[in-house]
Amino acid sequence: MGRYILRRLLNLIPVLLGITLLVFLFLHLIPGDPAVTLLGDRATPEQVENLREKLGLNEPLPLQYLAFLRDLLTFDLGRSIFTGVPIIEEIKIRWPATFELSVAAMLIALGVGVPAGVIAAVRKNSLVDNATMTGSLIGVSMPVYWLGLLLIYLFAVNLRWLPPSGRLGIDAGFSFQPITGFYVLDAILKGDFRLLKDVLAHLILPAITLSTISLAILARITRSAMLEVLSQDYIRTARAKGVLEWRVIFKHALKNAMLPVITIVGLEFGTLLGGAILTETIFAWPGIGEWIYGGILQRDYPVVQGGIIFVATAFVLINLLVDISYALLDPRIQYK
């Protein structure tokens, strides 16, 4: 087991190198001189040259890449061109927001998607099944931006049940100093229920918006995995023995149907971290995604670079954890 993990960790190195190379090339091969873009419509050639020098853009591309890698090894992702704040500092402040949102979205996706998939499988071809599958098709294809605005208009502008965006109300913000950066956790640690209510109220709409695609995919995967398991001999045997139907479904079938679901959860969770760009932007959620979006608009290359590397690394690590967890879930799986 330990050896397997070590081997997987070593395998990460080429993957991560590939990520850095891709990110680096993307930003350097798009047309247009970054220095000109940065300075905008009023730059003199002299200013452009100075900035190119300052950004190291005059070096040959491979040398620029090596310098980039060297800095990366010391967690030096550079500074934002616009604000001058070190990228690593900004990531430290922002990742808890993204992580909290992704966890909330995943909980919703699991809490709704898996039961929906189970019901659909058990009542195969029934009205419930068709409705669930149609619903999940809509969920997969719904543009996040549109759904987010729809929810804001319905629940915040018209009904006034929930705040439209942000992570914290204006009033709650005056007295609140974060401890961990995970606001839900902070509110609990402080034992402040008014704050907790405010934080959760702000979390609901973006979490729902972010969860839809994963929820739909989970429902579909759960359904097909359950269908496969339910058709196996041991289920028939269990039923023949007179085991209660709910026990058959939840104890015998669901547990064995979970393996593909876990795989998807891992993949989806990684996607959530990165896919939060649109959701965070619509909901003014101060996380990594909103930061990358701002970086793209301003052509703040170090920000985009740092943000993408963070998200990609998180994605890879989460999938490693998922792979390892197989062994824990299913004792039949052995790693050599």
Partner: protein, 552 residues
């Protein structure tokens, strides 16, 4: 192994918790925000809190080191400048300086400062403080400029020709004559100096605070200290800036609100939704297509910021057919400006024959009537100029949206349609924004192109010299009109307002005839507020103090 199987979940959960705590502890060791004594636990919000929706977070709160609107909007609340502008106009009025004047030769500007003003940190505002701030922007050797740490103050060089020691620098020396008098020595007369120094870039910050904070001054984890109506409390990265009223503010009865929160909401649709939901009180940078939605909500009021920009169509005289003024004029005649502006900007755009925006009307030739739309006459003029069968023309449109051209491509298509009606065969072209800006300046340049300008400060010099002065016409194949050069230089040298206006009016008339950059539109940015807000007068300069804004 048995043990592992039985307790694996417990062990994993414990590991996860430990990991979380370790990771988050690295976070919280970094102060995310600085709030000395500002946030005591459980303190409720003050009664009057204004919430302003900003289109993004500031880059920095250090004056002179930024050019973006989001930073300036916040800085206008924290800092005062030497001079201000009359609300809603570009007219210069006293602010930290009560009086200002130029010497006879126009080479010395003297500012007399207001007495008895203190910065938010309790230190005194005086002539030394002004000199300290100017040195920071201007002097590359200044100890507290922190240029080695990456501070650039580019806007200073953009507006004043260079830094201390540069040959082109307009400023030669800045001195504190006594406690309340500051003198600026110039290398050449620069009549727009008061307007330039009044721009939002140049707020006066506390020297004590800058020396204490060092290069970090103005960043989210640091502080920002001025003499303005609001005191900096906290900047929560990606979320908000919180300010509170300055009790010792020098303007009587201001600010009107006890607390001002600047909330960052990048997406315009989300900003409008917040405004409608009541979590924002007023906001800026909305898109023209949001106007109907604002008007349909009885709790909201749409506001227009007076224009300080121009969107123009440039005709490059190095391209043979365009070398003749008659042809350029014919093109101006062939484009139905009022109809295009109505179609693409609606109530948010104005069109007139002047390159300078309407807020500078005293520097415009009011006798000018814009070219009347007359395709037949235009076609005839082109034929008479030697092109009876018309000619080919590359027309470049911008790949990005700007306030002066929110959707360049359809606008370019409208131009193309009108020009093809008089026999000009238009090829629409575009390229990546950076390449667009770069290549238009490379000889021979684009044959014709769309571009625009938003003013840095409220003086015609910033529009006319920057587009028609020496060195400013690279993108027109270094087109020059000696008379325009001469008039622009005279206007720079004169400190007599009416004389300057007269000179600029003459330039206006010549540019109208020359038609090398045909002004298409002056657009007014769309803003909105809740009806419960009063006292907000948007400035053409892009942002304004919110000291007079209050909520009922």
């Amino acid at each position: 192994m048995q043990f592992w199987r039985r307790f694996r979940f417990v062990i994993l959960a414990l590991l996860a918790c430990t990991l979380t705590i370790v990771l988050t502890n690295c976070d919280s060791s970094e102060p995310q925000t600085t709030t000395e004594g500002a946030a005591t636990e459980e303190s409720a919000a003050p009664a009057t809190t204004l919430v302003y929706g900003s289109g993004g977070q500031p880059v920095n709160l250090a004056p002179g080191d930024i050019t973006d609107g989001n930073s300036i909007a916040v800085q206008k609340q924290i800092y005062n400048r030497l001079l201000g502008t009359e609300p809603g106009t570009t007219e210069i009025v006293p602010e930290l300086a009560e009086e200002w004047s130029a010497s006879e030769d126009g080479l010395t500007w003297t500012f007399n400062l207001r007495e008895g003003i203190t910065f938010h940190d309790g230190s005194d505002f005086n002539a030394e403080a002004v000199v300290f701030n100017v040195n920071r922007w201007w002097d590359p050797e200044f100890e507290f400029g922190y240029r080695a740490e990456g501070k650039l103050y580019e806007i200073w060089s953009d507006l004043f020709g260079g830094y201390k020691g540069d040959e082109a620098s307009i400023l030669q020396a800045v001195t504190a004559v006594d406690d309340i008098t500051v003198e600026f020595q110039m290398s050449q007369p620069f009549a727009a100096f008061p307007a330039a120094i009044a721009s939002g870039y140049f707020g006066i910050a506390s020297p004590t605070a800058i020396q204490e904070a060092g290069a970090d001054y103005g960043s989210p984890s640091s502080l920002a200290v001025g003499t303005g109506p609001y005191v900096f409390q906290e900047w929560r990265s990606g979320d908000r800036v919180t300010l509170t009223a300055y009790p010792d503010y020098w303007e009587a009865d201001l600010p009107k609100s006890e607390q001002l929160v600047i909330s960052f909401v990048d997406d315009p649709a989300a900003r409008l939704a917040q405004l409608r939901a009541g979590t924002l009180d007023f906001t800026v940078d909305l898109t023209p297509d949001q106007l109907p939605e604002i008007e349909s909500d009885p709790n909201l009021e749409a506001k227009l910021r007076p224009s300080l920009n121009v969107g123009y169509l440039a005709l490059n005289p190095t391209y043979e057919p365009l070398s003749k003024p008659e042809v350029r004029q014919a093109i101006a005649e062939a484009i139905n400006k009022p109809e295009i502006v109505q179609a693409f900007w609606g109530d948010l755009g104005e069109t007139d024959p002047h390159f300078t925006p309407p807020s500078m009307e005293s520097a415009q030739d009011k006798s000018l009537d814009d070219y009347t739309y007359d395709p037949d006459a235009a076609q005839q003029a082109i034929a008479e100029a030697g092109y009876p069968d018309g000619f080919d023309l590359d027309l470049w449109y911008m790949p990005v949206s700007r306030p002066y051209f929110p959707n360049p491509k359809p606008i370019a298509e409208a131009f193309a349609a009108e020009l093809s009606a008089i026999g000009i065969n238009v090829n629409l072209q575009t390229k990546d924004w950076a390449a667009y800006l770069e290549d238009r300046n490379k000889a021979p340049g684009f044959q014709s192109f769309m571009l625009g300008w938003t003013g840095d400060y409220g003086d015609p010099d910033n529009f006319l010299y920057a587009h028609f002065g020496p060195g400013a016409t690279q993108d027109l194949g270094n087109w020059k009109n000696e008379q325009v050069f001469q008039l622009l230089n005279e206007a720079r040298a004169s400190t007599d307002e009416s004389e300057r206006n007269d000179l600029y009016s003459q330039v206006d008339a010549i540019l109208y005839e020359e038609a090398v950059r045909i002004p298409i539109v002056h657009s007014q940015p769309l803003l909105a507020q809740r009806t419960s807000i009063s006292g907000w007068t948007p400035s053409p300069l892009g942002s304004e103090s919110f000291a007079t804004v209050e909520k009922s």
